[in-house]
């Protein structure tokens, strides 16, 4: 039994050692690295290009303003200097509800040493911010003044604020209004993307990004629709009774409208059509930030052999084309048509 006893002792002795070994990752590391590597590294934690590529807002900097580097909060960051006097201009955004008008105004008042006011005492004037309309507020304290504007865009609130010495802020108001006018949001999209609150891009991408990860649009799903698990290639799918609604996206134009219409006609057991006939079959509808092509066809479902109706829409957006398709029995499709069209029109990419 000597061997047994020795073996037992060995295990009793080695077990704590093994488990202590597992916890050895908590040491402070000290090392020296060449300068170049460190500098390259600093830019890598979050690629500089991501700011430019994904920046949701653009503007024209008024003359005489010094544009500073954006911070994690400030998408736009400017400094105006007139001799000893200064003012700063910031552009920030927050998703969702970020306080009432009164709370925001009183916060700004507090920053320049003013007492809070009642809601009825708030005064504002309308102001053009890019393609939208916002509200402009002005408030002056003993030394400092704030001119600020708020814009509601989709689910986000945008704040534009100039704060500083009274004289500078008063003098720069026309330039500030000009800056607001010059605002454009990312690409032609009217809906600002709240890139500032997206998790940092890379170097921590841990898997091959699926198509979904390049940006999921936001939409309001009609109450009568149920989300169903998407199949391969389908981005999102819904059902309304026995009618199926699918959303897919592909890079490029995927063969053009004619090819897609003919593909759908095939699913309805219909003969393909030629280009001249296409115009009579499709209609153009307005969607947020552009146009969509809509097609409405009836035929026989090639899979089930039953009469079916299909309404489909294609929305080119950037380098992608989004396809929305609703197919099912005629009565349900007719009932859901308005909801479907509204859904397509209100998707925020």
């Amino acid at each position: 039994m000597n061997v047994e006893r020795a073996l037992l002792k060995f295990f009793l002795a080695i077990t704590p050692v093994l488990f202590v070994g597992c916890g050895g990752k908590e040491e402070i590391k000290v090392y020296s690295v060449p300068k170049e590597a460190s500098q390259a590294a600093a830019s890598s934690a979050m690629p500089a290009s991501s700011h430019e590529d994904l920046h949701p807002i653009h503007w024209t900097t008024p003359p005489g303003w010094e544009e500073l580097a954006p911070t994690s909060m400030r998408l736009g960051n400017f400094r105006i200097t007139k001799g000893e006097k200064r003012a700063e201009v910031t552009i920030i955004t927050f998703p969702g509800r970020v306080g009432t008008e009164l709370e925001n105004v009183n916060r700004w008042r507090g920053e320049i040493g003013l007492e809070p006011i009642e809601e009825t005492a708030i005064s504002s004037e309308p102001v053009v911010i890019g393609r939208g309309n916002g509200k402009l507020y002005e408030m002056a304290g003993p030394q400092f003044k704030t001119t600020a504007a708020i814009l509601d865009k989709g689910d986000a609130k945008w704040f534009f604020k100039m704060r500083g010495d009274k004289d500078v802020v008063s003098e720069q108001k026309p330039a500030f209004v000009q800056l607001l006018k010059s605002i454009t949001f990312h690409s032609d999209d009217d809906e600002p993307q709240v890139a500032a609150i997206e998790p940092p891009v890379s170097p921590n991408i841990e898997k091959i990004p699926e198509a979904e990860s390049s940006g999921e649009p936001q939409w309001d799903v009609p109450a009568s629709w149920q989300e169903t698990p998407p199949t391969a290639m389908v981005f999102k799918s819904f059902s309304a009774g026995n009618t199926k609604i699918s959303v897919t996206k592909f890079p490029g134009d995927v063969g053009g409208t004619l090819a897609n219409v003919n593909r759908w006609r095939q699913q309805l057991s219909l003969e393909p059509i030629a280009q001249p006939q296409l115009a009579g079959l499709t209609t153009s509808i307005d969607v947020l930030g552009g146009k969509a092509t809509l097609v409405d066809m009836k035929g026989i479902d090639a899979k089930t052999g039953k009469p079916a109706r299909m309404i489909a829409a294609t929305v080119p957006r950037g380098e992608l084309t989004w396809f929305y398709k609703m197919m099912g029995d005629e009565a349900t499709v007719a009932r859901e048509k308005d909801a479907f069209v509204k859904f397509v029109q209100t998707v925020r990419y």
């Binding site: 039994m1 597992c22 090392y31 300068k35 590597a37 290009s49 891009v201 170097p203």
Partner: protein
């Protein structure tokens, strides 16, 4: 007592119980991934001694199942003890020994893989050269003395230490770091955002605490409010956050320091430069069909200068590390992301498979040869019977005569 313990550890009943527990653990651990995500489920079910259950709203928890490490460890002990007790070294048992040896090697190898394997990512843009990789899940607070024009002196404090320590002192740091607040997952917050928030004195940026995420395509973005002090007073306080693009720079005692929270880095004595990145997709889809990175490896310590094409299933193996083509940056088609795996026990599955294969072969051949010989012996006497009888009689006659 020792005998009883030994008897328990070497019993076949224990093997059956352990394997049954393993079956249950694999099932519940797999199901738990739905709710917890891959990484948390792995930690709680497989890289643990026990699996705990915590009722809602209480601080205590009770173990309900043995964890992966306990089961693996006990199976190993069970196997070894059974060997000592039951098996004797003999030529006949060599096949069994090889099979069991392979199994033991596999269990040990897997254990060492769990303990010592380090996975990280190397993100490179075309033309960029790097000599370090970054861990996607671990972070560190780096305090870098950038005063020297040629080299940076880095003190890197792991996030796990920040999370549980109030004050951190290190011989290489002329100040004490006080962790005033730490959020494992955070997001930039505005003044009107309610909930727990952190903000450094004199700074405008605020960060709020948000619930932890666990799925594979989400990640926690930590932030920490750090105060640097010396005996003579406060040096300053800053929020170090993974959200920030740039380090906070400050002067102290005539030297310039950078402070930042970043993914944990692993520096290497060689550099890798990305020459070209190709990313092909299946036509009409965004599904990657093939992607490859042509890199230049420069290792002065080994005198190596060579170009390597890293593709899916064709990794680069160098200096104990394996570089797999893992991903790409969807916002920049010039960027490759390589997965870097350092696993000192990487060879063990191969060795154990060879051992077990060899053992099975030996065992099978021994049985085959034994069977063939037995069969030969059974057939031989029947066929040789008359002659054998004659010769036996003759021999007996000779002896008698």
């Amino acid at each position: 007592m020792t005998n009883r313990v030994f008897k328990l550890f070497s019993s076949l009943q224990l093997t059956v119980v352990l394997l049954s527990c393993a079956l249950v653990l694999v099932f519940v651990g797999t199901m738990a991934q739905v709710k917890l995500g891959l990484y948390v489920a792995q930690e709680e079910y497989f890289r643990s001694i026990f699996v705990y259950w915590q009722p809602n709203g209480v601080s205590w928890k009770i173990p309900v199942l043995p964890g992966g490490w306990l089961l693996g460890g006990l199976l190993l002990v069970n196997l070894l003890a059974a060997h000592v007790k039951r098996f004797q070294i003999s030529k006949k048992k060599i096949g069994i020994f090889l099979i069991h040896g392979g199994l033991i090697f596999l269990l040990l190898g897997q254990f060492f893989t769990e303990v010592f394997q380090v996975e990280s990512n190397l993100r490179l843009e075309e033309g960029q050269t790097r000599n370090y990789s970054e861990n996607a899940r671990l972070h560190e607070v780096a305090i870098i003395d950038v005063s020297n024009p040629d080299r940076d002196e880095v003190v890197a404090i792991p996030e796990s230490l920040i999370a549980k320590t109030q004050e951190i002192r290190h011989a290489k740091l002329p100040f004490t770091i006080r962790v005033k607040e730490y959020f494992e997952n955070s997001r930039p917050a505005g003044p009107m955002v309610e909930g727990k928030k952190m903000q450094a004195a004199g700074a405008t940026d605020q960060f709020s605490e948000v619930p932890l995420v666990a799925t594979m395509d989400e990640k926690n973005v930590p932030s920490a409010l750090l105060e640097l002090t010396t005996e003579s007073g406060k040096v300053g306080e800053w929020v170090a956050s993974l959200w920030q693009n740039e380090a906070h720079q400050f002067e102290f005692d005539g030297r310039t320091y950078n402070l930042l929270l970043r993914p944990t880095r692993y520096y290497k004595p060689y550099t890798i430069k990305l020459l070209d990145f190709r990313h092909d997709v299946y036509p009409g889809t965004t599904k990657p069909s093939n992607f490859s990175s042509k890199i230049h490896l420069s290792d002065p310590t080994r005198g190596e200068e060579r170009d390597v094409l890293i593709r899916m299933n064709e990794p680069l193996r160098h200096a104990g590390e394996t570089y797999f083509q893992a991903s790409f940056d969807p916002t920049n088609d010039k960027v490759t992301i390589l997965q870097v795996v350092r696993n000192p026990a990487a060879i063990t599955p191969y060795v154990s498979c060879i051992l077990m294969g060899l053992g099975l072969l030996v065992q099978f051949l021994m049985h085959l040869i034994g069977f063939a010989q037995k069969r030969k012996n059974q057939i031989a006497p029947r066929r040789d019977d008359p002659r054998k009888t004659t010769s036996t009689a003759l021999a007996a006659g000779e002896r008698n005569s």
